[in-house]
Structures are given as structure tokens and as C-alpha cells.
């Protein structure tokens, strides 16, 4: 296959790359997809819920197959405010979520991406290029090749592969996007977070009874407040898989750098640096990322949900926050397009964490732009700009632009400490019956506001919050 020139090379066999590949197979394009993992999904980590119904367009009736790629569909959603010992939730369960195509499915990437790759392979076999398009795994692309400023192919080890265009769908740690000059060489921690997660296995009957699930129905639970992230920007999540739970945190990296600290040993480091011109400001308190996860699992509300389970996997991955300031300068150039989280297409608006649906949509749109470029026999930036235009007109960029202020609002201290504290404190008063005269609800609210905030602060938060929605 080395001598052959492809219409397109896709770097990365995650959801964005596979969605592009499926679009190519359906449009008789000759392509090569290169995945660095042993199989698609081997390197991927997500929460994770794939929101939206687009999968049904790419793989019609995916829920009717014997070998389904997803764990459960979302029927029950819950947002919980946590302080140190209390949980106050907004809980929503509806038959409206019952009918396929489902509005959200819970997935485990190692299984889902592998299943999705199988669907792409089936589509390749039905295309005109059944023997000339490939899904290649276990190969690391180290360089994107350029000729006269135009991208012409890739290099993996000693081998070079050439194509009319390249779709970079390498994920958030977008080294190739940086190499082609669309992203800065150093991306600061400001607008990224780290997701950290455990898979907790549980007897299927126990899990279904505990979470009141029926058949393949599932629940998503998000958490904010001190009980989740110990005052660090971010939040927690819990999703029900078929016979396990995905539980974890997403923690703002810049805030963790400022608020975290090492154990006793940092004192030694501090002492060592005392005479130095550059003293160490490291904090003595012990707060590292995996200890925050341990504390979250010990929260009374969370502890009861995971009781009796057994952790079978521990994972972590950097994740974009949805703040557009981190995005690449542009998502196309001569002969190249950037799709999925390589373009930081991901958003936590407070309503949901969307990333996999953005990956799917952007992969399809990038592929469609390449199909059109082939017809025109022009893969220059002028033609590939169509990808940008289409993405701007789609829900991906419309929602990201629409919810920017919500994203910023979610990252204010009010949202991960003040509000959850206040809500939990009010709940404790409101739901406590203790044979003493009960105060009026308005007085209870006033008590909680005085304790954790002030009316003026709340008004400011309210205005900011209202504007962001």
C-alpha cells in the first residue's frame, strides 16, 4: 500500500476518525486510517455518555444488533450538589428517553470504538475500494509531511504514506496539530482539565435494583461541590454500565496546580530550596488528584452507590473544558483538517459534557469537505474552508459559541463551593423535623445565604448565571 496515493489519510481511529472513515467508505473514497492503539479504543478514555442521535444516522438501528456497542441508554438523569456530608439533587426520569434513537448512550470506549471500527470495516467492504482502503492499527504517526506548505502525507517510523489530504483526529493531546502550526507548541493548563476515573464492577442484578434500571436503561449522575472536588474547580460523574459503574472526576488543571499540594515530602523539597534564589512555594497540604478521587468515593451519598463493587480499572486523561480560548488557531489549512478533540471540540455547559457527539459531527463534516474537494480536484485551504463553514453552521460551533458564558460561569468558585454549600445547608434545615418549632422556609434560606454567601454576592451570581443560559 506504500506506493499508492490515497484520497485521504485519517490520523486517529477514535470517534472523530472513524466517523470520517465511515463517511468516506459510504462515498467511495480511497483512504487510510491509522490508529496507534492495538485496536480502536485501546487508548481512549471518556466519562462517558455519547449524547444525541447522530449515531443512528451513521449506523441505522444500532440498538437492534445482537452485538451492541453501547452499555445502556440514558433514561434517568441526576445533578447532585455535595458538601462534606450532604447531597441535594435535581432528579429527572422520563419515558421520553425510552424510544430509540436514544438521546444519549453510555459507552466504554475500549468496547465502543472497537465496535464502531467493525461497522466502518463492513462499509469499506461494500465500497469500490474494498481492497484499497484500510484501517491500520498499532502504528504511530510521527510527522505530517508537507510540500510547498501543503500537507501531502504522513510519516510513521521510516515509512511514508501520501494522500491528497490528511484529517488529523488524534485527540486532545494534539501533537500533530501543533506540528503543522495550527496550535501553539505549548498549550497552557488554563483551559484544560484532567479526567480521572474508576470502573467498578458490580453484579448486574444488584446494579439494576440499586439504580432502579430496567433492561438496558441507565442513569447519569453529575456532582458538584466540596464533596466532589474538595474545592478545586470541576465536578464528579457516575454512569451506569451494564455490569459496572464509571465513576470519576474532572478537575481543572490550573486550579489544581494552585490548590493542590504534595505530602510531607514537599517540606523536604522546601527545605532544600531555602537557600536558593528561587524558593519553593509548594503547599504542605496533601491534596493530589487521586486522593481527591478517594475522598469523593467516601462521600456518604457516593459510598452507598458503589458499595460492594470492585474496582477493575483505573484510568485518566486530559480533557478540554469547552473554553474556546484553547482551540487551534484554525481547523483547516492546505491539505489538512482537524477534527474531534484535536480541535478541542468538547463542552461542559453544565447541562451535559459533550465531546463524543462533537467528534462524530466534526469527523463527518471534515470527510464531506474532502469528498467535495475530490470532485473539484482541489484540496487547498480555499476548498477545505467548507469544513469550517459547515462546522460553524452545525450544532457543534453554534452550541460552543452560545454556551461560552455558561462554560466560564461553571468555572467560577461560586459553582464548585458557594452554591453547593448553600443548597446543602438549606436542604438540611428544610428536610429536618426535630420537634422544635420550625422556621419559615424563607428564614431557612436566609440562614444558609448568610452562612455561605451574601445577598449581594448571590445577586451577582444570579445575574451571571441567568446571562449564561
Amino acid at each position: 500500500m506504500e506506493d499508492e496515493k490515497f484520497d485521504c489519510i485519517i490520523v486517529g481511529g477514535g470517534i472523530a476518525g472513524l466517523s470520517a472513515a465511515l463517511t468516506f467508505a459510504q462515498n467511495n473514497m480511497k483512504f487510510l486510517l491509522i490508529e496507534r492503539g492495538e485496536y480502536s479504543g485501546a487508548k481512549n478514555v471518556s466519562g462517558g455518555v455519547l449524547w444525541g442521535t447522530q449515531l443512528a444516522e451513521l449506523v441505522p438501528n444500532y440498538w437492534e444488533e445482537d452485538d451492541i456497542g453501547f452499555e445502556r441508554y440514558i433514561k434517568h438523569r441526576r445533578l447532585s450538589f455535595l458538601d462534606h456530608d450532604t447531597s441535594f439533587s435535581i432528579d429527572f426520569k422520563s419515558e421520553h428517553f425510552e424510544e430509540p434513537p436514544y438521546k444519549g448512550i453510555i459507552v466504554l470506549r475500549s468496547k465502543f470504538d472497537n465496535w464502531f471500527a467493525g461497522k466502518v470495516q463492513e462499509a469499506i467492504e461494500k465500497s469500490d475500494f474494498a481492497d484499497e482502503s484500510f484501517l491500520a492499527t498499532d502504528i504511530l504517526v510521527e510527522e505530517v509531511l508537507k510540500d510547498n506548505g501543503k500537507v501531502v502525507g504522513i510519516r510513521a517510523g521510516e515509512e511514508k504514506f501520501f494522500s491528497d489530504c490528511v484529517i488529523i483526529a488524534e485527540g486532545v493531546n494534539n501533537l500533530l496539530t501543533r506540528q503543522v502550526g495550527l496550535q501553539s507548541d505549548y498549550v497552557p493548563a488554563d483551559y484544560v482539565a484532567t479526567g480521572i476515573k474508576e470502573i467498578i464492577r458490580m453484579d448486574r442484578d444488584v446494579l439494576e435494583n440499586r439504580f432502579q434500571l430496567d433492561g438496558l436503561s441507565g442513569m447519569s449522575n453529575e456532582f458538584i461541590g466540596l464533596g466532589a472536588t474538595m474545592g478545586v474547580e470541576g465536578g464528579g460523574f457516575l454512569y451506569t454500565n451494564r455490569d459496572s459503574l464509571s465513576i470519576g472526576l474532572v478537575v481543572g488543571l490550573k486550579d489544581l496546580r494552585e490548590k493542590g499540594g504534595n505530602n510531607e515530602l514537599s517540606k523536604a523539597a522546601k527545605k532544600r530550596r531555602e537557600d536558593n534564589k528561587k524558593p519553593l512555594k509548594a503547599q504542605d497540604k496533601s491534596k493530589n488528584i487521586y486522593d481527591i478521587l478517594s475522598e469523593f468515593k467516601k462521600h456518604p451519598a457516593v459510598k452507598d452507590m458503589i458499595k460492594g463493587g470492585e474496582t477493575v480499572e483505573y484510568s485518566a486523561h486530559v480533557v478540554s473544558t469547552g473554553d474556546m480560548r484553547v482551540m487551534p488557531k484554525e481547523i483547516y489549512a492546505d491539505g489538512v483538517m482537524i477534527a474531534g478533540e484535536a480541535a478541542n471540540l468538547l463542552m461542559n455547559s453544565g447541562k451535559a459534557i459533550q465531546g463524543m457527539d462533537f467528534a462524530m459531527q466534526s469527523g463527518v463534516l471534515a470527510a464531506q469537505a474532502a469528498v467535495e474537494a475530490k470532485k473539484k480536484k482541489d484540496f487547498s485551504a480555499v476548498t477545505l474552508q467548507k469544513y469550517r463553514t459547515a462546522l460553524e453552521e452545525s450544532f457543534v460551533m453554534k452550541d460552543m459559541r452560545q454556551f461560552q458564558s455558561a462554560v466560564h460561569f461553571l468555572h467560577t468558585p461560586a459553582m464548585f463551593s458557594t452554591i453547593p454549600n448553600l443548597v446543602c445547608d438549606f436542604g438540611r434545615q428544610f428536610f429536618t423535623i426535630d420537634n422544635t418549632p420550625t422556621e419559615k422556609t424563607s428564614k431557612m434560606l436566609k440562614n444558609s445565604i448568610k452562612k455561605y454567601s451574601s445577598y449581594s454576592e448571590l445577586i451577582k451570581i444570579g445575574i451571571k448565571g441567568a446571562r449564561s443560559l
Binding site: 475500549s110 470502573i199 493542590g260 523536604a268 523539597a269 487521586y290 474496582t311 483505573y314
Partner: protein, 100 residues
């Protein structure tokens, strides 16, 4: 549930090329920077795989073998001490997720 130590958590991770005596490092850290001018040593508490540690003398050490390819240190280090690449499928380390 019993609280898990970081060693127990990493014990569940399936690393690649475990049979090879020496894997090729995919991350290089200039610990001279950590040990002389870095004001926060943040990698020692933001890395989810505890690849950055401080010894009794207060010196920072790095090992790539336990790395789970999350990318955190590449962003968190603002002192230009971390050079981050993906592990080589054949010669490098890195992970294979069972669930992901």
C-alpha cells in the same frame, strides 16, 4: 469499599511491552529545572500515575514506566521541563485500556 492506594490502582493497568527489559521512554523530564527553579513542583501532585515523586532529600524524580498517557504533565508544567510524546507501539511503554 476499601480505599485503594495508588499502587493498587496502577496494578490494574495493562501496560504494553512488559516483557521487554528496557522500554523506550516517551516522556523526557529535565528534573534539573524541577530541582532548581520550579516554584510549585505541581507534577508531583497532578500526575494521576504518580510518575513524579519527591525523595527524602526533597529532590524530584521522574519515571515513565507507570505513565498512563493522560497528558496532564504536558499542560501542567509551565517551566518547560517536560517533553511529551506518544509511546512507540513496538518499543515504548503505554497502555491498553480494557474499558476506557
Amino acid at each position: 469499599m476499601k480505599e485503594l492506594s495508588i499502587a493498587e490502582r496502577l496494578g490494574m493497568v495493562i501496560y504494553r511491552n512488559q516483557g521487554k527489559s528496557e522500554a523506550k521512554a516517551h516522556i523526557e523530564v529535565d528534573t534539573d529545572i524541577c530541582n532548581s527553579t520550579c516554584p510549585h513542583l505541581c507534577t508531583t501532585y497532578v500526575c494521576p500515575a504518580n510518575c513524579y515523586t519527591i525523595d527524602e532529600n526533597g529532590e524530584v524524580h521522574f519515571q515513565f514506566e507507570d505513565c498512563i498517557e493522560c497528558g496532564t504533565c504536558m499542560y501542567a508544567c509551565d517551566q518547560d521541563a517536560v517533553t511529551w510524546k506518544y509511546p512507540d507501539p513496538e518499543e515504548g511503554r503505554g497502555i491498553n485500556w480494557n474499558f476506557g
